[in-house]
Each structure stands twice: as structure tokens, then as C-alpha cells.
């Protein structure tokens, strides 16, 4: 049974994908409580045949989060895992738990489903107690059947196809912090039978056999194909559009409002041709950006918009000046990077007079709905946002832009509209991971002990545009219409527990290069600023170990104060055989919101070509309670390889006003010949500690591990990412 088939047959409680929002809400009036977080029915439904729907307001992006949620719900409800379907990404069936965000799918997202499922079980057992005239404590549940000593009933008999009409206590928050409280007590980890098992993902087969549907495959009757004409340079405005330039193409229409230009056509290829052919007269600022080779100098010199000290103890400046200490200093640089999702974003919107349906690949479809509603001047409940798997998502990529574009164009032409970007829209015009500089300063006393440690990051804000598309001002469309993003100022600091006597961790943000429409606007990309910061901080730790004449693993263990941190370093080193490895080994460690990761990288360096081949990685990973070791391993592997790609290859190239990275040739990423031959993973399970997320932590330790391994192989430090062949050759030649 494929996904659509399952939804079709899983009962009246599911709003069909194609049903317009209006109909969904009419149906709601007929007995279903409103979709609000304090109704148990908003979280769990028992179908007439005893199967279970869990309504999830976060999103899986191909790492198996939905399977983890199904395991948790099955566990708490005492039903078979196969009976639980997880429905996510439809604003008509799930509350806004924030979508995919910050690796909080399990920690924040599944937490609610755990409580809701436990509460559903408690309510069902109570109702069974009445029915079976037996006290609830004397009942037991097996796979949805409640047994007393002499009788039995089932969840399906008790509530199947109907609603609980049962309130839970909601904290009134929306997004990641949304939470509920219930009288039921979830199970203790010692009782787990389904949680902790290596259950395979459910979205693999349809992808492998080409039988399912991506957002790019959604077709709506009467739909037109659109392409948006992005400006050739930053800070552009439109002087004029020569509509006659596309006159010969069948059925083409030009949509223009202020600086927003798009073409629509009944056939997709005609829309592509029209987009290529349309003559637009642009006015632009030719010097919007600094020269690319001056980028990091620009950052160092730029005015500081916001500074924060994440940690300060002792007196670092005084300690750095103490007599007899050895001061170590190092500067590191990270480039802009692109999400460069596998395909450019796509969205379909069908705008009617008083409502809209939008199909999106965005990882935050509830916020997509909000943004479309604001754009169209509709109440949010008049917009039905439907997530359909997209071509990859690792943060705020171009998906949100596509959704707002589609809605805007659909309203303009009065028909359903499908927008898909061309390659450059996904590489040149997606929101970028910010470029940054980092400086480490430390003092060692005569014995080699670190007596001062100062680490500072300075860069573009990771939220120059917001992490979701709920405000049109954060979209290219909004900016083309004259809106300016509010811009939130935030960077970040290393997450570790090195117990240095005098220590300061600080960050500073600088203004965006362009206030309005810019291909170098910055926002969240997988583990926002994590790879950037730890590329620097974990290399700097290595530099200190080297200066102290100590083994880098032992050095970390000497100073880490959190035992879970020390445990992953030990585990990675032991599994990799650290002490017996030859030249070319590097280690790095970091925490991320309670998940601790250490990695050992083993590299070979080809001095002639400048190629770094990262042959083998050994990861030790502690994210508290493990829900599903199989999907966890796959998630970690993806982090390693994507992290290696960002370390070795990825850098957005630009000139004074335009981004020159427009495709895979100008924005190369890792390919198979450079993929590691082996990734060994040690999972450390802590059933007593709430799960803390795995979607991002591992990626932040990869850059430094590779750079440290390069140093171990060559004696040369690479303090600027990416560690491309040209840079390797230049660094080796200089050494």
C-alpha cells in the first residue's frame, strides 16, 4: 500500500489531500473538535478497524523521524507498530509544532505525541473499565485489546471512527515550544518494547520504485506552469519588461508587480523557454558586494550590530597578559554556503476568491500557510498548506520562496499555478549559510596548562531572513514588492565543557551586504553556524594540544568537565584505534543542545593534486535515549558526508554584485570518488535521559576533524574552509 492509498483507506478522520480548506472546516463542524492543541483528537485518532493515526506537527525530511514517532505512539498506546500511521505536514490535520527545526523532532515534537498517546491509552482503559465493569488497574492491554480476567474489548470498539472529545492542558505556545500536559504517566524506558528497536523507514520503497509523489509531481486540473525571473544581480529593480520578446510562445503570460517578474504557460517547456527569452531591463547596484577575496577582511572590519558573550568566567584579558605565559592565536575563515538542494524548489498554489490551497516541500508547512495567508490577506484558516516531499531540505532553503511565488502568481492569473525553479534559483538564490571569521586566543603556562581561553566569532547573522516564510518580507517575492526583512541578529558559540580557568566565548554579527533582495541573504542551513564555529574552535583546541605537546584526544579528555562529553571522545578514540593509527588522524568533539558527538577522521593527502581523501570516519554519538538505532545511524552517516562536502568543496562564489555559483559546476559538492570508504558509528544509549536530537549534531564536528587530520598528516594548518585542492596545494607550497 503506498502512502496515498493508505490515506485514502484510513477512514473518515483523515482529510483528503485534495479537499479544499473550506470543506475541511465544514466537516470539522460536524463533530470533530477544532484543530487545537488542547484537544486529544488533534493528536491521536483510533480508526474503525483499530488502526491509529498520529497527527504530527513536525516534519521528517528523509531521516525517519516519522518512524520514531510511530514507535513512540505504538509503545505508549500498546498497539502494534504497523497499526500506527504518522500524518504530518498537512495544516488541516496537524497543529503547528514548528515543522523541521533544530533537530527537535524527537525532543520537542515526539514529546507531545508520547504524552498524547499515553493519555489516549489512559482514557481508553478508563472507558474499558466501565464497559467491562472491572477496575482499570486490573486491566491489561495487548495490541489495542483491553483484557479483564473474564472479558475483553478493543480500542476500535471503544472509540474507533469517533472522537475522544477529551481536553489536555496546552501551554498556549505555537511552534517548537508547543507542549501539553496530561494526567497519564508515560512508560518508563525499562518497559519499552518498540522504542529502541531498529525499525526501517516507511518512505524508502516508493522512492526506490518511483511510485510515489514529490511536490514536483503534484498536478492540479487547469494548472499553469510558472517560472520566476530572478534578478541577475543583487539589489536590482525592474526598469521595464519587453513582453513582445516572448510573443511567439504558446499561451505565455507575463506577471509583473514592481520588481517581481514571472512567466506562466500551459506547458512547462514553454514556461522555461519564455523565462529564458523574456527581456527584462534591470537597474542594479554594481558594487553591492565586496570583492570575493576581500570577504573576510570585510567581516573583520564591519560594524558590529550585536555582540553577545555566551560564557565568561575569570578574567581572560588579564590572564593572557600574565608573565611567563605562552600566547597562542589563530584566525579561521568560513565562506558562504548554499543549501543547493537536489532540485530547485517547487510549489503549487490554487488561489480562489476567499481561500487558497498550497502544496509545498517546505519543512515548515504551517509557517508557509501563515506566509501565504498574510500575502493574500486571508485568515490563516482559509489557507490549506499541504506538505509533499520535496527535493531535499536542510533548513531555510528556497522552498518557502517558491510557495509564496506560486500563491502570488496564481492570484494574478486566476488559475492554479505550479512554480519550479531552475538550477540557479536553488543554488544562487537560496538563503545562504553565513560567512564568518573566528579568532582563538589562549595562554599556556610553563607546564603547558591552559590558563586563558578566548574564542570569538564574527559574521553575518544566521537569521538575516527568518528561519521560516511566515512573513512575506523574508521572501524574495516580498522584497521584490518593496518589503524589507526585519532581520534578527544572532550567531552562536562553541558548545563544549572545556574547564579552562579564564574563559570567554563571544560572538558578533554584522549588517547584511544588501538590505533588500540579495542572493547572499543569510538564514538557517543544517546546524546553523555549527560547522563554521567548530571548524575553528575544535581546530584551535588541537592547536593548543600541539602547543602543549599533548595528544589531542588526551588533551580534550583532560579539560572536558561533562562526563558525557568525555565519554564520546573516549568511545570514538577507542573504536577508531586512535593510539595505533598512523599519520593522517584527526579528532573533534562538540555538543549540540545536549547531544554529544566526537569523531575521528582518517585522511590521505595527495600533495601533487591537493586532494584530501577522507577515507574513514569513526563517530561516537550520545543523544540520550535512542528511539531507533537504524535510522539514527543513517542520519549520522548523512551528516558525515554532507559535512565532508561542506568541508572540502563548498563555497559560494560571487563578484561585486552577483553570485557566480549557479549550478553544480560552479558550486561543486562531494561526489562518489571522494566519499568515505567507511563510517563506523558507536551509539551510546542513555535511556534515563530524554532524547536530544540527531539531525544536525554530527555535521558540526566533521570540518575540524578533517582539518586536524590534515595537520596530523602534513604539519600544516588549513584555517580557511573549504579545504579545496587549490588551497591545499598553496598551503603545502608555503610550508
Amino acid at each position: 500500500m503506498d502512502r496515498r492509498e493508505f490515506l485514502r483507506t484510513s477512514g473518515a478522520l483523515v482529510v483528503s489531500f485534495s479537499m479544499p480548506a473550506g470543506a475541511a472546516f465544514e466537516q470539522a463542524a460536524g463533530g470533530k473538535p477544532g484543530l487545537v492543541a488542547d484537544e486529544l483528537d488533534s493528536w491521536i485518532a483510533i480508526l474503525p478497524d483499530g488502526r491509529v493515526n498520529a497527527f504530527f506537527g513536525k516534519m521528517d525530511m528523509g531521516q525517519g523521524l516519522d518512524v520514531a514517532v510511530a514507535q513512540i505512539v505504538a509503545e505508549e498506546l500498546d498497539v502494534g507498530f504497523d497499526k500506527v500511521a504518522v500524518l504530518m505536514g498537512d495544516t488541516a490535520t496537524s497543529c503547528n509544532q514548528g515543522g523541521a527545526s533544530g533537530s527537535t523532532g524527537t525532543s520537542n515534537g515526539a514529546r507531545l505525541l508520547r504524552k498524547a498517546a499515553a493519555e489516549a491509552r489512559r482514557v481508553l482503559v478508563e472507558r474499558a473499565a466501565d464497559k467491562l465493569a472491572t477496575p482499570a488497574v486490573q486491566l491489561r492491554v495487548e495490541d489495542g485489546t483491553v483484557f479483564s480476567s473474564g472479558g475483553k474489548t478493543t480500542y476500535a470498539e471503544l472509540v474507533g471512527g469517533r472522537y475522544f472529545h477529551h481536553r489536555v492542558d496546552w501551554n498556549q505556545k505555537v511552534g517548537n515550544p508547543m507542549d501539553i500536559q496530561v494526567p497519564a504517566k508515560p512508560k518508563a524506558p525499562a518497559q519499552y518494547k518498540v522504542v529502541g528497536k531498529p525499525v526501517p523507514r516507511r518512505d524508502v520503497a516508493w522512492k526506490v520504485y518511483g511510485t510515489g509523489e514529490y511536490v514536483t509531481d503534484v498536478r492540479v486540473p487547469g494548472m499553469l506552469h510558472a517560472r520566476v525571473i530572478r534578478p541577475p544581480r543583487a539589489a536590482c529593480s525592474v526598469r521595464g519588461v519587453d513582453e513582445a520578446s516572448v510573443k511567439g510562445i504558446r499561451g505565455v503570460r507575463v506577471v509583473r508587480e514592481k520588481d517581481f517578474v514571472a512567466v506562466v504557460a500551459p506547458r512547462e517547456w514553454d514556461a522555461v523557454r519564455a523565462a529564458r527569452q523574456l527581456k527584462v531591463d534591470w537597474r542594479f547596484d554594481a558594487n553591492a558586494f565586496p570583492a570575493m577575496d576581500k570577504l573576510h577582511e570585510h567581516i573583520r572590519q564591519a560594524k558590529v550590530v550585536k555582540r553577545e558573550e555566551a560564557l565568561k568566567h575569570g578574567d581572560v584579558e588579564a590572564a593572557l597578559k600574565m608573565p611567563g605565559v605562552r600566547v597562542i592565536e589563530a584566525d579561521y575563515e568560513w565562506p558562504f554556503q548554499s543549501h543547493a538542494s537536489m532540485g530547485p524548489a517547487c510549489a503549487i498554489a490554487d488561489v480562489k476568491a476567499d481561500r487558497c490551497t498550497v502544496w509545498t516541500g517546505s519543512q515548515k508547512p504551517h509557517f508557509t500557510r501563515d506566509g501565504v495567508a498574510t500575502l493574500l490577506g486571508l485568515a490563516p484558516e482559509k489557507v490549506h498548506g499541504i506538505w509533499v516531499p520535496g527535493p531535499g531540505s536542510y533548513g531555510r532553503n528556497d522552498a518557502g520562496d517558491a510557495a509564496l511565488d506560486a500563491a502570488f502568481i496564481s492570484r494574478a492569473v486566476g488559475k492554479p499555478v505550479r512554480v519550479q525553479g531552475m538550477r540557479a534559483d536553488g543554488t544562487a538564490w537560496d538563503p545562504k549559510a553565513p560567512a564568518s571569521v573566528h579568532r582563538g586566543r589562549a595562554a599556556l603556562d610553563a607546564s603547558g596548562k591552559v590558563v586563558a581561553y578566548d574564542f570569538m566569532s564574527k559574521g553575518f547573522s544566521r537569521q538575516h531572513i527568518a528561519t521560516n516564510e511566515s512573513d512575506p518580507a523574508d521572501s524574495l517575492l516580498g522584497q521584490a514588492l518593496g518589503m524589507t526583512p526585519k532581520g534578527h541578529q544572532i550567531f552562536g558559540s562553541p558548545e563544549e565543557s572545556y574547564g579552562f580557568e579564564n574563559k570567554r566565548l563571544a560572538w558578533e554579527t554584522i549588517p547584511p551586504l544588501v538590505d533588500g533582495c540579495s542572493p547572499l541573504r543569510t538564514s538557517h542551513m543544517r546546524d546553523p553556524v555549527g560547522p563554521e564555529i567548530h571548524f575553528a574552535s575544535e581546530q584551535f583546541i588541537d592547536e593548543l594540544a600541539h602547543a602543549a605537546g599533548e595528544d589531542p584526544a588526551a588533551f580534550r579528555l583532560r579539560y572536558l568537565t561533562n562526563p558525557r562529553h568525555a565519554a564520546v571522545v573516549k568511545a570514538a578514540a577507542e573504536k577508531a584505534g586512535w593510539s595505533s593509527l598512523g599519520k593522517g588522524k584527526g579528532i573533534a568533539f562538540a555538543d549540540r543542545n545536549g547531544t554529544a558527538v566526537a569523531v575521528v577522521a582518517e585522511v590521505e593527502v595527495d600533495r601533487a593534486s591537493g586532494r584530501i581523501f577522507a577515507k574513514r570516519f569513526t563517530v561516537a554519538h550520545d543523544c540520550g535515549l535512542i528511539i531507533n538505532p537504524l535510522t539514527l545511524r543513517q542520519t549520522i552517516e548523512g551528516n558525515v558526508v554532507q559535512g565532508l562536502s561542506r568541508t572540502l568543496f563548498e563555497e559560494v562564489r560571487f563578484e561585486r554584485g552577483s553570485v557566480e555559483s549557479v549550478d553544480w559546476a560552479s558550486y561543486p559538492i562531494l561526489e562518489m570518488p571522494d566519499a568515505p570508504e567507511a563510517i563506523e558509528i558507536v551509539l551510546i544509549d542513555h535511556p534515563e535521559i530524554a532524547p536530544s536530537g540527531a539531525g544536525e549534531p554530527t555535521i558540526r564536528v566533521i570540518p575540524a576533524a578533517v582539518a586536524n587530520a590534515f595537520f596530523n598528516a602534513t604539519g600544516v594548518r588549513l584555517r580557511r574552509a573549504p579545504l579545496s585542492p587549490e588551497r591545499v596545494k598553496a598551503a603545502l607550497a608555503k610550508a
Partner: protein, 154 residues
């Protein structure tokens, strides 16, 4: 505009199109197939890969004028859940894809490479798969699936 006749997954089809229109648009827009995918339109990623007369081909740059009379096979025609190609079975067993949008390139290219050389070494397979992209970073899992398929084929 001209009419082009060819077969897709064994079925004869005919498409009216400009001669320069890439095959990908015929498959998706004219014939309504849900795969292969548009990834770059530049033959740089592989998401649009199909077999044309058995050869892995980037359909995003193959003009319709070159398609007439050819035999086109998509991933859905390579195998089915009931009758999977060994690579597809291996992909499912290993749970390879994450977002999965790149999959046509990897499966169709590897299937053709294994047909020519079922005993290809790891190094040979890694080279044969150069030029394909996977943004989720499933490369290690892809190699595991290929080895599994090779055992199946042996």
C-alpha cells in the same frame, strides 16, 4: 512541432513537441510520469536519468529529435515492488534514500554499470558513479546497496 514516437517502459507513446525540447519534459509534462526528476537541466546531477536503448542518459538535455524510435526505460520500468531489479531490492533492504530525489541517477547508472561488469570492484563502481549528486550524503549506503546487489547477481 513534430510528432515523436518511442517507447517508455515498454509502452509505445507519441509526443508532439519542439525538436529541441528535452525528453524530460515529454516524460513529465506530456506523458504525466512522476519520475524522473528535474534537478539541474544541465546534465550535472543525474536526477533525470533514464535508459535510452539501455544506456543511462540525462533526459534533461536529450532533445526530442534524438528520441524517435528509441526505447526509454525509467526507474519505474526497471523493476517493480513485485519484480524488483536487484539494485532496487538492495536499496530497500539497506534503506538507502533519504530525500530520494536523486535516486534515478544512482540506480539507473549503477544498473547499467553492473550489467556491463557485474563483478566491478568498489573502486570501479565509485568511478562509474562520478558525476552524480546526492545532497543528503547517502553515498556510503549506496555502496552498501551495490555490494548487496552484486552478491545477488553473482
Amino acid at each position: 512541432m513534430a510528432t515523436y514516437r518511442f517507447t517508455v517502459d515498454g509502452k509505445p507513446v507519441s509526443v508532439n513537441a519542439q525538436p529541441e525540447m528535452p525528453l524530460l519534459y515529454a516524460l513529465r509534462d506530456n506523458l504525466g510520469l512522476r519520475n524522473p526528476h528535474f534537478g539541474c537541466g544541465l546534465a550535472q546531477c543525474g536526477a533525470c536519468t533514464v535508459h535510452v536503448n539501455g544506456e543511462p542518459t540525462r533526459s534533461c538535455v536529450l532533445p526530442m529529435s534524438a528520441v524517435a524510435g528509441k526505447k526509454v526505460t525509467t526507474i519505474a520500468g526497471l523493476g517493480t515492488p513485485q519484480k524488483p531489479h536487484p539494485l532496487q531490492a538492495a536499496y530497500v533492504a539497506e534503506g538507502v534514500p533519504q530525500c530520494g530525489y536523486c535516486i534515478n541517477g544512482w540506480v539507473m547508472t549503477a544498473a547499467a554499470a553492473l550489467k556491463k561488469n557485474p563483478k566491478a570492484s568498489d573502486a570501479e563502481m565509485r568511478d562509474a558513479l562520478a558525476g552524480l549528486k546526492c545532497r543528503c550524503g547517502t553515498h556510503v549506503a549506496i555502496m552498501r546497496a551495490i555490494k548487496r546487489a552484486q552478491r545477488e547477481l553473482a
